[in-house]
Amino acid sequence: MIQKFANPARFIRLSQALLPWMAGLTLAFAAVGLYLGLVVAPADYQQGESVRIMYIHVPAAWMALFCYTAMAIAAAVGLIWKHPLADLAAKSTAPIGAAFTFLALFTGAMWGKPMWGTWWVWDARLTSMLVLFFLYLGYIALVNAFDNPARGIKASSILVLVGFVNVPIIKFSVEWWNTLHQPASVLKIGGPSIHPSMLWPLLLMALAFTTYYLWVLLLRLRGEIIANKIRVLRLRRVHGQA
């Protein structure tokens, strides 16, 4: 089955059909999610109106972890099965994941100041999230550091897999150690400790962020495939085989 989608020409055709759907779903989910989150959802009993930063902060943080996990899987598939599309998927995911991580860190600081009384502390959750941001940046620097793209992909795939140990550390940091950041509210044993009127907008925003990721991923992958084609054509011309 993997071989069937490995064909870049088939992928270009398939992604062409998917792109408008992803764009439409992102706009629809974000419109409803933002309306429910910013207008309909109640203020929090403790945090008041500041709680609304959650509808951006939490999906961004989830996607930061999701993108890194997707990158690690793609990098492993690329390393083990030499799947060219998997390599490109990892490469295309990195800047999106880095942007989500930055957004999570930034909105976290905006939220931390009024609630905790500080922009930043070096607790386990915040620090491990900052490490994730640097892993993304390191990957982007490394993948572009080689003249031969295949070598860049190989070196950076190993970096992604090594860095994957950080993902469970981020997720469980709030349980393994005491931190200033509170434990998980949604994905936890015993069900969410967040009122349904706030949970629904949050889940819609998470869907919007996910379809946004898929949308941008498809766009970037198409760009990478076309750039590869151009590179091959140029090389042929240089070698006089055109």
Partner: protein
């Protein structure tokens, strides 16, 4: 064994060792990773007065006293408590029964805080629901 199976085995084994190494490092550094000590840990440790550290817990009910800009209160983990004095502006979420993390030094049994941060729990709900839970006696949280 085909080459891709070799690569798969290598990646799985390498990641296994890496996870083990990371777990050992994190266990060894556990002391350094915790963000704050509970009052029980603090009383057991008896740190020297020049050492800057953090204590975390709940603000004990009825312990907050303000005189000018100086605030004194007790931080409790419901077993032990530590008296804290602090001069400065408290975060909005600072209340009796609320989670708090104070950074400073333990001087002669009194924790002199240089910074006080509020810590909230992972529960989110509208004020009316919080009110209703308190009325029905099923309230489990602090004292908002």
């Amino acid at each position: 064994m085909k080459r891709k199976h070799k690569r798969l085995t290598f990646v799985v084994v390498a990641l296994g060792f890496l996870a083990l190494a990371t777990a050992l490092v994190l266990l060894a550094f556990e002391e350094g990773i915790v963000f704050f000590y509970s009052p029980t840990e603090l009383t057991a440790k008896k740190p020297p007065a020049e050492r800057r550290l953090r204590v975390g817990g709940l603000v004990e009910e009825g312990s907050v006293e303000k005189s000018g800009t100086v605030v004194t209160f007790r931080v409790t983990d419901l077993n032990n408590s530590v008296p804290v004095t602090y001069k400065g502006i408290l975060p909005d979420l600072f209340r009796e029964g609320q989670g708090v993390v104070a950074e400073g030094r333990l001087v002669g049994g009194v924790f002199v805080a240089a910074e006080v941060l509020a810590k909230h729990d992972e529960t989110y709900m509208p004020p009316e629901v919080a009110e209703a839970l308190k009325k029905s006696g099923r309230w489990q949280g602090g004292n908002p």
